[in-house]
């Protein structure tokens, strides 16, 4: 059966389940006697196992199966939770995530077997409670290996069947030999090697599950199965293989013509869909063949059905307006009401479509508790993460990109921001450090804040670093406000960390954060108080594709400035422009605002007539909490514009964020306020 159509669903649902597993595990760690949580974890593991099984992802299925064993023992109080166990369960989670990611990229689960994790899981059961082992693991062996007598474990393909038939016709015996190694066996590959020597010397092995290469690399559980053609009897093999040390069990099943016929029938019935049969088979024998069909899953958004209904209603209204317009056209008169109606509907449709693209930021946030937990352990600090506003919604494209910079900032706060327990005690602070992660909507923006109650940023030290690194002269730095100094943290290769830790301090952190946020059209700011903590605020526009913009003339060219970054528009006379430190500024309500002459910067060709104007039009834009005054020639008006990319050739052009098409079909460029503002 072709499973490809289910891949997207599988990946999406698996991710949801893994997320659930993640939060449940965190709860389990905090409260390790809660049966409800255990049941929840068990349920998720079980669901994942079923899903993986249906899709034919054997390794994933095996891993979840082992998890289930441990969880079941936990549920039945055969063993108790300890942090080591939670660690192993977390590693299972990571492994499952790896599988799901591989699946979403290639359509197959990959070759990683995570043997160490299954071993560790088995170790929990064995090490902690002997009784648990006898009751828990033996039914397990039964289950995984359970095949009714006479039925074969391995699946034979047409080629195998032909070979076996030839062997049987030549009067040879064909056996399926199932070997189970002792659970305590340390050198599994070595044991398996000896077994293979026995087999090779007395038979021809035509098939092995897992593949021989995998067995050599120890990529198998404690059992493997081979199909061998031989002249010897089954008793001979049972005796010979049992004579090898650390063998728990040997089962020899003769393969007869009946098996082959049954197999052939099955193969035939599947022949209608040869490719997927092939793929399935490849999966089953854990083949090393290159991926046949690299199926890449698409990006999907889960949409509330109500939102789709709204959209649907709007579209039907649109049709009504169209009909209305048609009839009024027949009458030969334009209908103002209809046009107005149309306008209202298009705006509503725009809104509705935007909402469809929105996803709660929870998707990004919910991986952080786990991360902070790991970081806290690594740094040996007590850290509590408080999250709020997880239901704040952002455009899907933003959601995909925002995670990485947030990780940087959070790690930064945990590593540099928060002090060690001892330091906190000295400062009369509670030993547990707090990190607050908040998201909320503010007008057309979404604000994400990461605040910690740690030591804050040592501004004096940053000042020293700026001078040391020769970025600015000492006297220059002394004129900087604290705010300006802190902004240097976002410059490339600027790190004040005294020691480089695994987490941060290599000076590749905050500038990456800043670049990333700016590509999303957002800004990032820091507030800090020495000894009290710091707060990083990220401000990103709600949606990227359609924005409100102010259209202006610069020379004879039209440009669009995103309305979200404009704070006001003022007219100033040329005399009001003063020079401070070689920078022209204007004074607005006691604020000194640097002036940016857009015509010059954008090299707009002179329209000729030297106009001696009495006043200059200044668009005051806001970048973070700093203002700049953009001088433009005249204003056109406010308009909703669709942002279009300039394409590959012109990507990365300075000062321009994109282009838009105006009502008359002409193109207006959208100014990149971040790069233009001083």
């Amino acid at each position: 059966m072709d499973m490809n159509q289910y891949l997207d669903i599988f990946v999406e649902e698996s991710k949801e389940h893994l997320q659930q597993l993640n939060s449940s595990l965190l709860q389990l760690e905090k409260n390790n006697t809660d049966k409800q949580v255990l049941n929840e974890i068990f349920r998720v593991a079980h669901t994942l196992k079923g899903m993986a099984g249906t899709m034919g992802y054997i390794k994933m299925q095996t891993l979840t199966h082992h998890m289930e064993d441990v969880l079941d023992a936990l549920r039945n109080d055969k063993i108790t939770v300890d942090s080591n166990m939670v660690d192993i369960l977390f590693r299972c989670l990571d492994a499952l995530e790896t599988y799901v990611n591989t699946v979403s990229l290639s359509g197959q689960e990959g070759h990683e077997a995570f043997q160490d994790i299954t071993d560790a899981l088995a170790g929990i059961l064995k090490g902690n409670n002997v009784q648990a082992k006898s009751t828990e693991t033996s039914p397990k062996t039964e289950e995984t290996g359970s095949t009714e007598p006479g039925k074969l474990r391995v699946e034979l393909n047409q080629y195998d069947i032909n070979v076996i038939k030839a062997g049987l016709d030549a009067g040879m015996n064909v056996f399926e030999i199932h070997i189970v190694l002792d659970k305590g066996c340390l050198l599994k590959a070595a044991r398996a090697f000896i077994v293979f020597q026995v087999l090779d010397g007395n038979s021809e092995v035509i098939k092995s599950v897992p593949k021989i290469e995998d067995i050599e690399d120890e990529r198998f559980d404690f059992e493997f199965t081979v199909v061998a053609i031989t002249e010897k009897s089954s008793d001979f093999f049972i005796k010979e293989i049992n004579s090898v040390a650390e063998i728990e069990k040997v089962e020899v099943t003769p393969i007869l013509h009946e098996h082959l016929d049954a197999g052939a029938v099955r193969t035939e019935s599947k022949e209608s869909d040869e490719v997927s049969e092939d793929e399935n088979g490849a999966n089953k024998v854990l083949s090393d063949q290159p991926l046949k069909k690299a199926h890449k899953t698409n990006k999907t958004v889960r949409v509330d059905i109500e939102r789709l209904d709204t959209l649907m209603n709007l579209v039907s209204e649109l049709i009504i307006v169209k009909n209305g317009l048609e009839s009024s056209m027949e009458n030969g008169q334009a209908d103002d009401d209809s046009i107005e109606y149309l306008e209202r509907i298009t705006t509503s449709i725009h809104d509705a479509v935007m909402k469809v693209r929105m996803v709660p930021i929870e998707q990004v946030f919910n991986r952080f508790p786990r991360m902070i937990r790991d970081v806290a352990r690594e740094l040996d600090k007590d850290i509590e993460l408080h999250m709020s506003g997880e239901d704040t919604e952002l455009d899907r494209t933003v959601i995909d990109e925002i995670g990485e910079p947030l990780i940087h900032i959070l790690r930064n706060s945990a590593d540099h921001g928060l002090e060690t327990r001892e330091e906190r005690k000295k400062m009369n602070k509670p030993p547990v450090g707090n990190i607050y992660l908040r998201a909320y909507q503010d007008g057309n923006n979404v604000v994400i804040e990461v605040e910690d109650d740690g030591r804050g940023i040592d501004v004096a030290k940053v000042r020293r670093k700026i001078i040391e690194k020769g970025l600015e002269s000492a006297e220059m730095v002394n004129t900087f406000s604290d705010k300006e100094v802190v902004d240097y943290l976002f410059k490339p290769s600027f790190s004040t960390a005294d020691k480089v830790t695994d987490l941060s301090g290599r000076g590749v952190g905050l500038d990456v954060v800043k670049t990333k946020i700016e590509t999303l059209g957002g800004i990032v700011e820091v507030e800090t108080e020495w000894g009290k903590g710091s707060k990083f605020s990220i401000r990103i526009p709600l949606t990227l594709a359609i924005i409100q913009a102010l259209l202006v003339y610069i020379g004879s060219e039209q440009y669009a400035i995103p309305l979200s970054s404009i704070s006001e528009i003022v007219n100033v006379s040329p005399e009001e422009i003063r020079k401070v430190r070689n920078q022209e500024v204007i004074l607005l309500r006691d604020m000194v605002i640097p002036v940016v002459y857009l015509p010059q910067i954008l090299e707009v060709p002179d329209s000729g007539a030297e106009k001696e104007e009495k006043s200059l039009t200044c668009v005051i834009v806001k970048k973070g909490d700093k203002f700049s005054a953009f001088i433009v020639d005249s204003l056109i008006g406010q308009q909703e514009i669709v942002i279009k990319s300039l394409g590959k050739i012109l990507s990365g052009i300075k000062y321009i964020a994109g282009a838009t098409i105006l009502g008359d079909g002409n193109v207006a460029l959208i100014l990149d306020v971040n790069s233009l503002a001083l």
């Binding site: 060219e557 707009v604 300039l646 394409g647 050739i649």
Partner: protein, 152 residues
């Protein structure tokens, strides 16, 4: 001289003129030929990039081969055309003085230029072909603007 059928060894080329020289470009890369239209200048780009146009809702950069080849700019007239090239990753408009026709050239009609020059900067020239007694330079547009594509 004219051959109308295309066989395995022959390719179709769009023939256009810049100044008094004729050029040809592989027709498979040409999406459409448009009349001159409004071009929005893009600041901080090399002079031969004239700007961007709106081609039925798509923003497409346009460059002037005249300037690229170091010829003086001229007023656009009724013959001026923008040839829209489409590659896998991007589209591109090229302003030319006139577009003539589609010509079919056999491999043997095309003379390699490596015999004339080894200068790497002429890499964009695929070869020289003859058309009604005149020479047509066959060019590879993508190579011509490779310097634009290298930079990030």
């Amino acid at each position: 001289m004219e051959k109308n059928h295309v066989d395995k060894n022959s390719k179709q080329y769009v023939i256009f003129r810049i100044g008094d020289q004729e050029f040809g470009a592989d027709i498979h890369k040409v999406s459409i030929v448009e009349k001159m239209m409004n071009i929005a200048r893009v600041p901080t780009t090399p002079p031969y990039i004239k700007g961007v146009i709106n081609l039925r809702g798509e923003i497409i950069p346009v460059l002037s081969l005249r300037i690229k080849f170091g010829l003086p700019e001229i007023e656009t007239d009724d013959d001026t055309r923008i040839i829209i090239f489409k590659f896998n990753e991007f589209a591109l408009g090229v302003i030319v003085d006139a577009v003539y026709e589609v010509a079919v050239y056999n491999e043997e009609d095309i003379e390699s230029v490596t015999s004339i020059t080894n200068d790497r900067s002429y890499d964009y020239i695929v070869g020289i072909a003859k058309r009604e007694g005149r020479l047509v330079t066959l060019i590879n547009i993508k190579k011509l603007i490779s310097d634009l594509l290298v930079k990030e």
